[in-house]
Symmetry: C2
């Protein structure tokens, strides 16, 4: 926490460096990747932290493992979690690691691959409704019945700290490479990862941005209103970014520290997905690809139009990425948060790729 | 070269460590990846060297850059190359790096993404026939006309040494991690990468295996005959493994040092492609995935049957992976040689994936 924060702004200590130290050797230190085509599209150096290569297929493993590990150390025998998918998978795997019982609650329309992964990790899987409120009600009932604590997907200091460790690794690796980040971009579901990024960037001149799918923009609306505002999430291919409301704890961090939210549409997310797959050669889930879509919009505010996704609002001057000092090339960090995606969706998104698209950007 | 080689067995010095030193900082030091599901399937630790994340999308960049760099240093003003695609892309990019002219000859049925990438790198692209003989004839004519030397895709000591540097990095990283390789598996087109792997493994107790698609098994037939034998390549999704004949220089290395060739069919390659995409989260081209298909066959000799590709011949005892000493888990290294694949093929291969397949192996 910065010393300029009003007392009580963040209700619990969130120590990203401590989480990073604890997680070292317990999770994969994922590589930082780049591709010349993406740099050219962005007109900037784009460093992508490949957390889709993380254990469990997403950076949620970091927060899940850190939080569950602490609960195990405190003597708990089981945990309960609810999420759109990746946090549930992470908590299931973390519980197995520490030999705890786990019950995870997912929406009835969860990605089948995420349900299968949570089950394969040995968790009891409950499918309940489609909204976070429905899942939370079930999770609270299970917690009451079993006495096992709930590990919230984002309203939990250890989860925020764990997620932040991915950003901290990216920040430090960029510094070591002599290309420190000017900006850091994360997709926003409940806001835990973006809040962790803000805390990881504390003390450094890095602007942190969140990215939300159009119509799933609880954070953008909450920042405008000055308090958490729920939305009825619109349909999006980014299934991980559908929580109806940003978490209280992430919001308390983000309202003071986030520079802006960038809204992207499914066409932009799909174009970013294809760039990652065909140029970077990694599989990101659409929620993960949304971070790159937002970074490209930030960097160029027009680039993705040329890839066929016109008609989106331009950023205001206040939202735009600040110019780099002097002639130095800007460096934008993006956390590719996860890679758990349905084969059918991969097929659908790649079937529409065009060779001309590749050549145009090469 | 080992001192036990008969004099003249390898017609030119091939110094893999020298190539690795020269390439350090000039190519990406690609990550070594693993996935629990793949380890479980193999019943062994499988370390995958992700050269699909290499500049140009394949490990061919290593040999191309090393060879072209030496030609540039020797004063040449241009180069000529022929290949099924990735070597052409690599030579085109390498020539641009050293400001040389480049003419590359690809088959008329080359993967469109590879043609586009060679063109985007500024090379003159000539499409000629479907066989290596047709391409070589054109390449020789261009070389005669321009005076620019041919950089052969595998019959060239610098190319073999450069390709070998990927294996050397994998071998050394596995040693540093305390899990030295028992076996090292590479797909075989012209044999340059497998020959480089054999040379990289010199002096270490590592068995090196080659993998060929069924019906594109020039190396297997050549080893049986004791001399290079051409085949009429059968159709395969592994477009990079279709050269009709193993190179003379690779053959001279492989006949003495390779333990065996594993033949795989397209179903096995497709299953390995899906494992890499959906579990490891990286896009390998089928030619690259063939290495994992071969490794899985080697490790279990039956595993892939359960993924729906029955009916393939079992390995002979002489071909099988040796048992690990004591109770130690075996470690198998695989070089994922490239990731340049048509979007349409990605769509086709993922459309057939089944969630049950994922669950079955999880």
């Amino acid at each position: 926490m910065s010393h300029t924060d009003p007392p009580g702004a963040v209700p619990a200590p969130i120590d990203v460096p401590e989480a990073a130290r604890w997680l070292a050797g317990r999770v994969v230190r994922t590589p930082v990747l780049s591709a010349p085509v993406i740099d050219r599209l962005a007109g900037a150096r784009v460093l992508l932290k490949a957390e889709n290569l993380q254990v469990g297929g997403s950076y949620k493993m970091r927060g899940g493992l850190f939080a569950v590990g602490r609960l195990a150390a405190a003597g708990h025998k089981g945990v309960v979690a609810q999420s759109t998918g990746n946090h549930a998978v992470a908590v299931a795997l973390a519980a197995r690691t520490f030999a705890l019982a786990a019950t995870v609650v997912l929406p009835v329309d969860a990605a089948a691959t995420k349900v299968a992964r949570a089950r394969a990790a040995g968790a009891r899987v409950v499918l309940a409704g489609t909204t976070v409120e429905e899942r939370l009600a079930v999770a609270r009932r299970v917690s009451d019945e079993t006495g096992h604590p709930i590990v919230d997907a984002y309203d939990h200091p250890d989860v925020v700290a764990g997620q932040g460790s991915a950003s901290l690794e990216l920040i430090e690796e960029a510094e070591r490479a002599g290309t420190p980040l000017d900006a850091l971009v994360l997709p926003v579901g409940g806001g835990g990862g973006a809040a962790g990024a803000c805390l990881a960037a504390t003390g450094r001149p890095i602007e942190v941005y969140g990215v939300e799918p159009r119509g799933c923009d609880s954070l953008a609306r909450s920042l405008a209103a000055g308090r958490p505002v729920a939305v009825t999430p619109a349909p999006t291919i980014a299934d991980g970014l559908r929580p109806s409301c940003v978490g209280e704890l992430p919001f308390a961090v983000l309202r003071d520290r986030l520079r802006a939210v960038v809204r992207v549409d499914d066409d932009e997310i799909a174009a970013a997905f294809r760039l990652l797959l065909l140029e970077l050669k990694v599989l990101a889930e659409p929620s993960g690809a949304a971070g790159l879509a937002g970074a490209l919009r930030l960097a160029t505010d027009a680039t993705l139009r040329s890839l066929g996704s016109g008609g989106t609002r331009r950023l205001t001057a206040a939202e735009r990425l600040p110019a780099a000092a002097g002639a130095r090339q800007r460096t934008i960090g993006v956390v590719l948060t996860g890679g758990n995606v349905e084969p059918e969706l991969v097929a659908r998104l790649t079937a529409t790729a065009r060779i001309e698209e590749e050549v145009a950007v090469a």
